[in-house]
């Protein structure tokens, strides 16, 4: 057998069919929505009002957040129930920049101190607020704050070989600890109220329609780039090791790979993606407060990914948008008090009837229809033989 046989082997393209469809939809949406917002008369049926633009922008940041969870849950088997913490940290970094942009337009008119600090009778800016008046610094912190937390947390957890449900529990403890910490006024992050009342972003009025549209398009761009990055990672040799760790970690160690380092890299990348999602989320919703750290939020992200299809990337984004659309729809009507029951029911139903999620189930269906070039005498079933 010559080497050419190896060359003929199917290697999935960087962007498969579903990836191309996904990116095409993103491009279409980021063209259509601004057009329908700006160029169509407000009384037209197809006009997209600005509040919908921001709502859609929020969905896109959630989709990026879901993507970050799928990278570690779908491909490495790390079920993080604390992903919301990285999202919130990115959001706080952006929020701190937006607070510093308010300047003298705050209620108390202090040129440096945000309102809540004046209210708490603080005389000077805490050291960790330095630099946040500069956008590049804040942007760096959007990546560094979640990235560093993930690095330190992951380094200890993975080195100690904490896996499975124990890992999930300590990630949840991590976000809960941060929730409690950020609630405290003397932490210096606005306590219970968080950061809000933003005015400008990079000199542009944050309420203006144009700014909203740009933020929306940037969210779509971030989601698209995040998707391509994740695809690139999971297709690489590195990504194959990740899947191998998910399926047989011991074998990976005995093959000479430091499984903990691979997990750590994936975890840090995932945390940074979540941070970017949070940073884009905050200017579009206009507030960041400690409730973003709540464990329930992080669990909700897991539901999005499960609904869309774990380990498919596209599915995670789809699940985030679908579930959040449902949430918007149902929490604004008479069914509002029952939303959490519906969400819980959805999770149970998906686990029972659609364990691979929407996209995963579609892939299975497509695989079944594809003609197989079977090798005679070889079992087709993916499951191992009974022993």
């Amino acid at each position: 057998m010559s080497a050419s046989v190896t060359n003929m082997t199917r290697q999935p393209a960087l962007l498969g069919t579903s990836g191309l469809i996904f990116l095409a939809v993103l491009v279409a949406v980021s063209v259509l929505v601004p057009v329908l917002n700006l160029a169509v008369a407000p009384d037209s049926a197809v006009h997209v009002p600005t509040y919908v633009v921001s709502l859609l922008g929020k969905y896109l940041t959630y989709a990026l957040l879901a993507l970050s969870v799928d990278l570690i849950w779908g491909y490495v088997g790390i079920l993080s129930l604390g992903q919301g913490a990285f999202f919130a940290l990115g959001g706080y970094a952006m929020g701190m920049y937006l607070m510093r942009q308010i300047g003298t337009r705050g209620v108390y008119g202090d040129p440096v101190l945000p309102d809540f600090m004046v209210f708490l009778n603080w005389k000077e800016l805490p050291w960790f607020w330095y630099g946040f008046d500069m956008f590049p610094f804040a942007a760096l912190m959007v990546l560094l704050a979640p990235g560093l937390l993930a690095l330190v947390f992951g380094w200890f957890a993975f080195r100690s070989r904490v896996t499975g449900v124990y890992l999930s529990i300590i990630t949840q403890a991590m976000t809960f600890a941060l929730l409690l910490a950020f609630f405290r006024n003397d932490m210096g992050f606005g306590g219970n109220n968080g950061l809000t009342d933003f005015k400008d972003i990079l000199g542009f009025n944050i309420q203006a329609d144009g700014t909203r549209l740009v933020l929306f398009v940037l969210s779509a761009l971030a989601l698209g780039l995040g998707y391509v990055l994740c695809r690139f990672l999971v297709r690489s040799h590195f990504g194959k090791v990740l899947v191998a760790i998910r399926d047989a970690e011991t074998r990976v160690r005995f093959t000479g790979y430091r499984a903990e380092n691979y997990k750590l890299v994936a975890f840090v990348v995932s945390a940074m993606l979540a941070g970017i999602a949070g940073a884009l989320y905050v200017p579009q919703v206009g507030i960041i407060n400690p409730s973003e750290f709540s464990p329930a939020n992080s669990i909700e992200i897991i539901v999005w990914v499960a609904v869309g299809g774990r380990g498919t990337l596209v599915g995670a984004a789809l699940g985030a948008v679908l579930v959040n659309y449902a949430k918007t729809y149902f929490t604004s009507g008479i069914l509002a008090p029952y939303w959490l029951f519906m969400l819980g029911g959805l999770f149970v139903a998906v686990t029972l009837f659609l364990p691979k999620g929407i996209v995963g189930t579609y892939y299975d269906w497509r695989e079944k229809r594809r003609p197989h070039d079977d090798i005679p005498g070889a079992p087709i079933a993916a499951a191992g033989p009974a022993e």
Binding site: M1, R10, V241, T255
Partner: protein, 268 residues
């Protein structure tokens, strides 16, 4: 089993010198492992020479798997020495990954392959080469690597299965794939735990041939196996473990003629 060289060094009462005087690839001396008061290994001593193939037999609970755990760094011994590479490397101070990198490959009792990767990717992952996380994001397969993988496919007779998922293989094929993955790591020493469990007679015979071939190519091999036909097929030195130490050692005929071996293992 200490050889004469080691005995001399003990006489010199210089523990450090003992390591340098052994020429064995693998050297275990008085290794003891206790789990909750149960002695899984009891002052186990033996050596494996470079290029040697050795079969290990023994009843359940004799310590065969624990022995492999100690050699591969999964379990730390309470007492005793474990040295590799002519006594230059103390294995008790290293972890699984370091030991694997040194050149000790292990096949588990239950075949462990990457079920959601193709057979080809299974071998690619195992192939000796870059192991660090960040460089592997941009790793590209070399022509030499492709050739080596093709060779291994020939050896383990799975060439036409290369595009199937590891999980879709039959039990016997998985065992071979795992042996192939060991070969791809190019270890100096292969530890093979019950490779023919659950195999048909034909597969068993092929596996014996495969292991002899691997051994002939210069790899040292330690095979743990219950299947006596298979051990006879291998035609190598046999060591019988019992209660955590070596009960008998020699050719299969010598060992199976041993009174104690018959009593505790083979049965009358």
């Amino acid at each position: 089993m200490t050889d004469s060289a080691t005995l001399e060094s003990i006489a010199e009462a210089a523990p450090a010198a003992k390591k340098e005087l052994t020429e064995a690839l693998l050297y275990l001396d008085a290794v003891t492992v206790t789990f909750d008061g149960f002695r899984a290994l009891n002052a186990l001593s033996f050596t494996v020479d470079p290029g040697e193939m050795r079969a290990v037999i023994g009843p359940n609970g004799a310590g065969k798997t624990t022995m492999m755990d100690v050699i591969t760094g999964k379990t730390r011994p309470d007492r005793g020495d474990v040295f590799f590479n002519g006594g230059t490397t103390d294995l008790t101070k290293l972890d699984e990954t370091q030991i694997a990198t040194l050149g000790i490959g292990r096949k588990f009792q239950k075949p462990t392959v990457f079920e959601n990767h193709t057979v080809l990717d299974n071998l690619r992952l195992a192939l000796k080469g870059q192991r660090r996380a960040l460089p592997n994001i941009f790793h590209r397969e070399s022509a030499a690597a492709r050739e080596r993988i093709d060779e291994i496919f020939e050896t383990i007779r799975l060439t036409e299965h290369r595009d199937r998922l590891g999980g879709a293989l039959s039990h016997g094929q998985k065992q071979w794939l795992e042996i192939g993955m060991l070969l791809a790591q190019d270890p100096k020493l292969l530890l093979v735990d019950e490779p023919v469990a659950g195999m048909t007679d034909a597969e068993t015979a092929q596996t014996a041939e495969l292991l002899r071939e691997i051994n002939a190519n210069g790899h040292s091999v330690v095979v743990v196996e219950h299947d006596m036909t298979f051990v006879r097929d291998l035609g190598v030195r046999v060591m019988c473990l019992h209660e955590g130490s070596v009960l008998a050692e020699g050719t299969l005929d010598q060992v199976s003629a041993n009174e104690r071996v018959i009593e505790v293992y083979l049965g009358r």
